[in-house]
Each structure stands twice: as structure tokens, then as C-alpha cells.
Amino acid sequence: MNKPKYLYIDDENDSSITSIINGFNDLGIIEVEHFPLSVFQEFGKLKNELIQRRKNNAFDGLIIDLRLDGDGPDRVDFNATSITQELRSLTARGDINAFPIILCSTEPKIRETYDADKSSHDLFDYKFEKSIEPNFPKFSQKVFSLANGYHWLNSGKRPLSEIFGRDDLNSIDPRILERFLEAESKVVIYDFAHFAVKNLFHNPNPLIKEKIVAARLGIDIEASGEYWSTLISDVFNSVKYKGLFSEGWSRWWADGIISVFKSLTDKKLSFLTAEERVALLNEKTNIKGLVAAKPLPLSKSTEFWAICEGYKKPLDPLEGFRIYSSYELKPWQESKYLSLDAVLERVGIEKGLRPHQSELKRIETIKQSLA
């Protein structure tokens, strides 16, 4: 797919909208066109127009403002959730080809409406906040990847090994993909897309992101510089996730990282300190410039396995505090953590990062011991 085209639907119609559209279009990764909501004020009219345009392949995805019923001049009487629900039903029935739907809104509106309505979370493929300086390169890459992935899924039925880019799916926890193996369950394209983004990419296991890979290998990414880039791209490329949406989300198979390390060093990764892991990697790969990560000031362990989501630095989960999550984790997913430093300094609180309820007593005890 060359340059996917997204329609942008918003009740606002001012320079802020032009600025978002230009922000995407200037990068040239995706093309964004402003959809004239003022012409399609009724729910049915809007729906029919979108169906018709989709049938004519006039767009590859939607970027939609959460509060279409907001204060903008093009406001309608329904919000993004209602129209998205309808479009998802139509694609599930096969009336039109499935396509990505991206939610955008200001941070307060997302908190007020989206976060409060958990039932709407499954509808959207991705959400980005309208802020003063949106991260257009990051958003463009993700929405490009989503359009590309949907297009690929629409083009024909594929085996799970191809969708998730791994031949030996047998060796991962069988619960992860079991819903796709049930003969009776009807799986639609959106299920794969939703599963990949919401389940595979959002929480560790079976895939992990770059910072967690570095933490598990005991490496300080910044201090290791180009040596880290060489290690991750040369030595661990075989266990990089290459399945659906992999252009938008860089992830590695967690079990693969352990296996590669074991085959290189004949040692069990999790039982080593960062210094030991890095010494072995420097020795066995001949990449001599890898630097071991140090613990955060109030942490002692360098047997890192996670990151502190506040500081984005390596953390031994045994010293961490499980993070509150607005959704229930699957039994095969791992928690995210905050370090004691982040908890005490309230780092990330503005992004909603806070310890899980079950950790509060322990935090209180630690606070008292530090006082």
C-alpha cells in the first residue's frame, strides 16, 4: 500500500483542524482529507455516505473526533462511539471491507467521556490526543501500519502463523491464540486487529517493547548508543515481531530473547545481574561497548525484568509496584510497574500512572520506614 488515505471527521472546523491535517500530510506517510460533517448532519446520511465511499475505495481509514456532539460549528447529535459501533457491525457482516478507526480528542475529553465508558474501548484501533504538539511522526507510522495491515487482511484469508509472523506459535502459551482456533467461533478481521493492538502490544508478554528488551538484557540504551542498535538489529533480529502491524509497533518475542541469550551464553538470563548479562553479551557477541544499566536511586536490584513506567528505566519487578490498569489483564499478560522513586515523586501521575490498590499498604509501610 503506497499512501493510505484517512478521512478526518470533526465537529470543529477551524485552524486547529487544518493544523492536524497538515501535520499528517506534511510528513507524507498518510494522506488525510477533511470530511465535510456539516453536509451530513443526520446519522443515517453520514453512515450511508461512509458506506458508499468505502465501497468505492475512497478511503482506507477514519480519524474521528470523540465528541462530534461537542461545541463545534459542525456538531451533530451523536458522538464517535455511536457511528463507530454501526460501522463495526457493517464490517462484521461483510457489507463493507473492514478498516481502521482512530479516535482523537483532547486529553480532558478523553478522560471525561472515553475513560468513563469502558464499553467503547473495544471499538477503536488507536487513540491519539489533540495536544499542542502532537507527535505526528509516531502517529503517522502507527495509522499507516493500521491501514496497511487491514488492507493485507482484507486481501485474503491467512494462517495464524503468517498473521502473527511466527512459524512455531505452538511454543507460546496456548491461551493466547485459542480464540482464533475455535472451529465454532466466527473471527472477523477486526478481531485480529483489535487483538494485536490491545492485547499483544499494550502489555508485556508474549511480546515486549524495546525498553523492556534492554532491561532484560541488563543494558543502558542511552549509554550503549550505537552498540545497542547493533545488538538489537543484528543479534536479536531473528526474534523481532514481524507480524500484523509490525511497521507501527516494534516488539520482540519475550521467549525468543531468552532463547537467543541462552544459545549465545548457555546461561539463564533471569538469574543474572545486569553486569553479568552485559559482560556475557560483550564477550559472546564481540560488541564490546554495551553498558550495564544501573538501578534507580531507591532500588537495589539489577536483576531487571521490567521497566518503571514513570521513568522508563530498568526495574526488577520484585522491587516495583504493580500499576493500576483500567482493563483487566489476561492471565498470560504481565503487569506493568512503577518504581519506588516514581511512586514517591508521583512521576507519571498526570498520565494516569498510579499504583494498583493492592500495593498501597506496602507503599505506606515503606514510606513510614523512610520517614
Partner: protein, 253 residues
């Protein structure tokens, strides 16, 4: 080489029992544990194209077994831990089980190989480790000391760290203490009763847990203890007054 249907039936039964235990653990521990190592093991058990290898490298379709890698439970008996600065810990199990399907349920040794390796990690003013393993000794190997076939040994430096600080502890190989064999099902009772007694109490309230333990104790412990008791013939079952057996072994459910 695909495994025969009757052996696959046997393996699927064992996999189902592991899954039942996994679900019990999820119910009792919730998000405090990850059961992925159990599901990965049981999937391998159900894979008809996979025959677990023996240490010797021998492949025999009558051999069944599984490997559990890095299954963790929280360490809850922190009051008894030294150094006293340790305020958080975990117990990590690595387990390798190999048996012959033909000896399962007979009054015979149910295993060909067994390695029940436990590492305990605590964090206080620094990171501390401790470990022990319950092994099935390979009787074909020459050895200087008499080995009980199933024995427990401790290791204060389980990671074999070259820079390990032995402090004021003198450490030599602990005696190979006689210990009954532990697979994953029986191992959960052993680990929770020792390191998370409250969870063991909750598990014992679960009918499913007791049933699984009864079944596995019958198959794994009964031949072991009857074989020991058989040393003194005749076995004086009628004259035993030392009761209850729970005092001898609290996990004997």
C-alpha cells in the same frame, strides 16, 4: 514420529490435571502469579509430535514428561527470613519431570528423571538468594557418597555467582536428605505450605485441590512409602498407633 493414541490419551490426562491446578492457582493468587509456564508445559504434553528427551539423549515414545520454567509464587513467610531487612521475596520453581507411562500407577518408581529446583530471591538492603533442589539421583552414575534416590540439597549460591559473598556462613554440601518425590501437582502443596501458608490454607478448602493431591499422592507417594515400609516385613498395618499421619506430613491430604 507421532506418539501412539493410547500414550497420547495418558499425556492428555496429565495435561488436563496440570490445567486444573493452573486454574486453581489463578483463583487463589489472582494477578500475583503468572501461569504461562504451566500452560506452555501442558501444551507440549499435548503435542503428539513431541517426545521428551532423557538426559542420555534417548528418545522413547513411552517416556512422558514436561518442563516448567520459572514458575513464581510470592514469598509470604518474610517474618522468618534473615537478614531482617528483606521485605519482599519470591520463590521460583524450575521443574523437569520424566516418567515411563507403563510405571504410572504401579507400585513402582513413577519417574525416570526428576529435578525440582527452587530458587528463592529476597530484596532488602540488597538482593539475596537461596536455593534447594529435590532430585532423582541417576543410579547409573558412580558416586562417593551413598545417595538416596530422591533427596533434597540446599544451595546458598544457587546462581553460582563467582562474586558471591559467603559472609559468616560456612557452607559445605548439605547431607543428601531423604525426600519424597515432588512433581508439579504435589510441589504446589509443598511450596505453598512452606512459603505461602495462607494460600495453602485456601487451596486446601478447594475440593479440586484435595482431589488432585489425593490422586497424585496415591500414585507418587504411596509406592515410595510402601517400598520403604516394606523393608520391615511383614508390614504391620494393623498395629500402627502413631496417628494422625498429618503430623508426619502436613501436605498428606
Amino acid at each position: 514420529m507421532a506418539v501412539s493414541k493410547s500414550i497420547m490419551h495418558f499425556r492428555e490426562e496429565r495435561a488436563r490435571e496440570l490445567e486444573r491446578m493452573a486454574k486453581l492457582l489463578e483463583k487463589i493468587f489472582g494477578a500475583d502469579i503468572a501461569t504461562t509456564p504451566i500452560y506452555t508445559a501442558l501444551k507440549e504434553l499435548k503435542n503428539e509430535n513431541s517426545i521428551p528427551s532423557l538426559k542420555s539423549g534417548a528418545i522413547n515414545q513411552n517416556v512422558w514428561g514436561y518442563d516448567i520454567e520459572d514458575f513464581e509464587i510470592p514469598l509470604d513467610t518474610l517474618k522468618h527470613v534473615k537478614p531482617s531487612s528483606i521485605d519482599k521475596g519470591k520463590v521460583i520453581l524450575n521443574l523437569k519431570v520424566r516418567g515411563d507411562v507403563n510405571t504410572w500407577g504401579d507400585m513402582n518408581d513413577p519417574f525416570l528423571e526428576l529435578n525440582f529446583k527452587v530458587d528463592i530471591k529476597g530484596i532488602g538492603d540488597k538482593v539475596y538468594h537461596f536455593g534447594f533442589h529435590i532430585d532423582r539421583h541417576d543410579l547409573t552414575l558412580p558416586n562417593a557418597e551413598p545417595h538416596p534416590v530422591y533427596h533434597i540439597q540446599y544451595n546458598v549460591n544457587p546462581n553460582n555467582s563467582k562474586t558471591f559473598d559467603y559472609g559468616e556462613i560456612m557452607f559445605i554440601d548439605t547431607p543428601r536428605l531423604l525426600h519424597f518425590p515432588l512433581d508439579f501437582i504435589l510441589g504446589i502443596g509443598f511450596l505453598t505450605s512452606n512459603f505461602f501458608p495462607a494460600a495453602f490454607g485456601y487451596l486446601c478448602d478447594e475440593r479440586e485441590f484435595v482431589k488432585l493431591n489425593n490422586q497424585y499422592q496415591e500414585i507418587i507417594w504411596k509406592p515410595y512409602y510402601h517400598t520403604l515400609a516394606n523393608h520391615w516385613k511383614p508390614f504391620e498395618q494393623g498395629s500402627i498407633t502413631w496417628k494422625p499421619t498429618l503430623h508426619l506430613c502436613p501436605t498428606l491430604l
